[in-house]
């Protein structure tokens, strides 16, 4: 007997992408071009932001690190370089398609230290790891996409070792009207037209509503402290378009 909860038939047309299943399907659809689009849309800057995210975790040689919502593995590969062959990285995502690409990239990479990465298909809201296991956790463009942000933070807190850090990179929901304007303009006039060229207009239109539904930097800090982190700080980067939450257990 399959452990299945019957879901209502949801068709992603012009309605907001609300359910976890719809989001899972969305990321499955964009998987083949996800990396190329990231490079194109951020003019390669996402690579810099991700290096910052990893630095903020304080991950070091020999550590056990976790990359949540790992997608095609960018942050996992950076963590792999940080922790070295004596360390371990686990990359978790709910999209089979994204994990296939991550696993493929791992196999094709010339760098042997990427052998310290294992991929797991899982749910960020119900992590398959025991308490206090990880020395560092990253999450890149994932928190905005989970249906229960508080639950995700609680799970991150649970599986983190005391004294260790989580570093969460995402779009910044700015409190500055001008920044919001620029961000919306870029999504409407750059992101969606480019995505349209890949046949993914609807998938990237989801970005705008997901940022509107996201939390501001201050709200993210408050949420982290609420679930038990001893310290939480949100850094705005790239002129306030992106943000990175760093929280210590």
């Amino acid at each position: 007997m399959a452990l299945c909860i019957p879901l209502p038939s949801c068709r992603f047309r012009h309605r907001p992408v609300r359910s976890s299943l719809e989001r899972q399907e969305l990321f499955g659809r964009i998987a083949p071009v996800y990396d190329n689009l990231n490079d194109l849309l951020s003019l390669g800057q996402h690579r810099i932001w991700k290096r910052m995210t990893v630095s903020w975790t304080g991950a070091k040689v020999g550590d056990c690190a976790l990359d949540l919502c790992c997608g095609s593995g960018d942050l996992a590969f950076l963590l792999s370089e940080k922790v070295g062959s004596n360390g371990k990285v686990t990359g978790l995502d709910f999209s089979k398609e994204q994990l296939s690409i991550a696993s493929c990239r791992q196999g094709l990479a010339p760098n042997a230290c990427y052998n310290n990465i294992e991929w797991v298909e899982g749910d960020a809201l119900q992590l398959p790891f025991s308490d206090g296991y990880f020395d560092a956790i990253t999450m890149g463009y994932g928190l905005r996409n989970v249906v229960d942000k508080e639950r995700a933070m609680q799970e991150m807190f649970r599986v983190l070792k005391p004294g260790s850090r989580v570093s969460v990179l995402d779009f910044n929901k700015s409190t500055q009207p001008f920044t919001n304007l620029i961000q919306e303009w870029m999504i409407d006039n750059v992101v969606v037209p480019v995505a349209t060229g890949y046949g993914l207009a609807k998938e990237y239109e989801y970005l705008k509503s997901s940022i509107k539904e996201f939390l501001t930097g201050k709200e993210l800090e408050r949420l982290a402290l609420q679930v038990g982190f001893s310290n939480a700080r949100h850094y705005e980067i790239s002129g306030g378009l992106m943000g990175n939450l760093v929280a210590t257990r």
Binding site: M1, L3, F94, C104, G107, L108, E118, G122
Partner: protein, 88 residues
């Protein structure tokens, strides 16, 4: 490049990294998982659910879990334990 990728995926499918099973727990009960080489799956004995491993990647989204029927259990003792738990 595509053929090489497919071959790598096939190699990944042959072997699940058993050391990974030591760090993984059941996403529902948070209890340890047991790797079953016979069924190539991870078993949560605590709740009697098995999670598949596909292309070497464990699938531990709760909805991926399959309830193990009593007759699927490998040992008679385990089946009796499960059965008595279900009747409580």
């Amino acid at each position: 490049m595509v053929r090489a990728s497919l071959m790598l995926l096939k190699d990944a499918g042959r072997g699940f990294c058993k050391s990974l099973s030591q760090i993984l727990v059941c996403p529902l009960s948070k209890q340890p998982l047991r790797y079953s080489e016979e069924t190539n799956s991870l078993i949560s004995d605590a709740i009697g659910v098995s999670f598949p491993i596909k292309d070497g990647i464990p699938c531990l989204v709760p909805m991926d879990g399959k309830i193990i029927e009593a007759d699927d259990m490998p040992k008679a003792d385990d089946a009796a334990d499960l059965s008595s738990k279900n009747n409580q």
